[in-house]
Symmetry: C2
Subunit: 207 residues, 2 copies
């Protein structure tokens, strides 16, 4: 099969999702094994929930016996299967991610998307910082060697704000209802525990 | 590794679940590939929902945009990946499965469990019969060469009724909240789309 059959793999994420963070830790293994680079797409989870009338599992699964324990078992298997470290419980959860998500859109335009995304995921879920506090964000970005002043100014840019709205709307139009969501071509996969399927789908599409 | 390390694989099912039926179609492939025979455990889904305060996805996911389409995409991939035929839409859905589930418990004691389970799944989801109507059940079982009179008498047996309650309660105690549920040793997996993981878990446990 020619390289023109290489499928596009996408990771639609919000920094507020611990399962998106864990996916971010596993994705490099899929990239190494398949030779496909994922396209990361910032998608505001609050906007997704509003557009689809959905809510976080903490809300929709609240009061259902055994569900919470099942999610924990799924996560334990994920950590084992991908050999990644667990999240650090973030005492500030849920963190309003609007500013740092806008920052991702700015970073994309500024050519610093990959280091920004990696740093912010780490600040949120490894260092468990309060990443909806402007001072905390500024300090964290600076420590990571990122141009904090420029990024935080960029968060207020009208085009940046609109682009995040557009990314979110386009993702919902393709079927997104939560985070993390993956696409391989037009096939949609929801939740970190589909990543093995995502990998298999890439391999299938590659032929 | 000795054969004593062979894990126990279990399939906790209710005939009312189309996803349990599709799992039933795929399980023989896992059995052939791993050499492990699944233990089928009849578990009354209505009892599970009552005990866990859960409901069917048709209820819990109702009104959430994109969810229904996602479930359809998952099912399409399942049919493709396991090369099995789709369910025949059952116009009588939801069918009250209490009698045919009790019948499964009776059939287990009577040594006709496997042919009974296979026949009833087929009557429900391939032939789309109204399997909560006594006349329909009797005719279907007879056509499948099963002792319909004995089975239908057995459905009324107090010990049979209690055993279904006990199976259901024991399953919930181990973490079940819906159907289909699979166990590999103590590891619990929910939903037909975990079957690839179930297979991998069996292979991991076998060493």
């Amino acid at each position: 099969m020619s390289t023109s059959a290489m499928p596009e793999a996408e990771f639609h994420f919000d920094f507020g999702s611990p399962n998106a963070y864990l996916s971010h830790l596993a994705i490099p293994q899929i990239e190494a094994q398949t030779g496909i680079a994922f396209r990361y797409v910032p998608v505001l989870l609050g906007g997704v929930f509003k557009a689809t009338n959905n809510a976080s599992p903490m809300v929709t699964e609240n009061g259902i016996m055994n569900k919470r324990e099942y999610r924990q078992a799924e996560t334990a298997r994920f950590l084992r299967d991908w050999d990644v470290s667990p999240t650090t419980p973030n005492p500030h959860f849920p963190v309003n991610t609007l500013q740092i998500m806008r920052g991702a859109v700015y970073a994309e335009g500024a050519g610093i998307f990959t280091p920004y995304v990696d740093a912010v995921f780490r600040h949120m879920w490894h260092e468990a910082r309060k990443m909806d506090d402007a001072d905390v964000i500024h300090e964290a970005l600076s420590e990571s060697g990122l141009p904090a002043d420029d990024i935080m100014a960029g968060m207020g840019d009208a085009q940046v704000k609109q682009k995040l709205v557009d990314y979110t709307g386009a993702s919902v139009s393709r079927g997104t209802f939560g985070s993390p969501t993956f696409f391989v071509g037009d096939e949609i996969f929801f939740g970190k525990n589909t990543l093995k399927e995502v990998q298999a789908e890439i391999e299938l599409a590659r032929g």
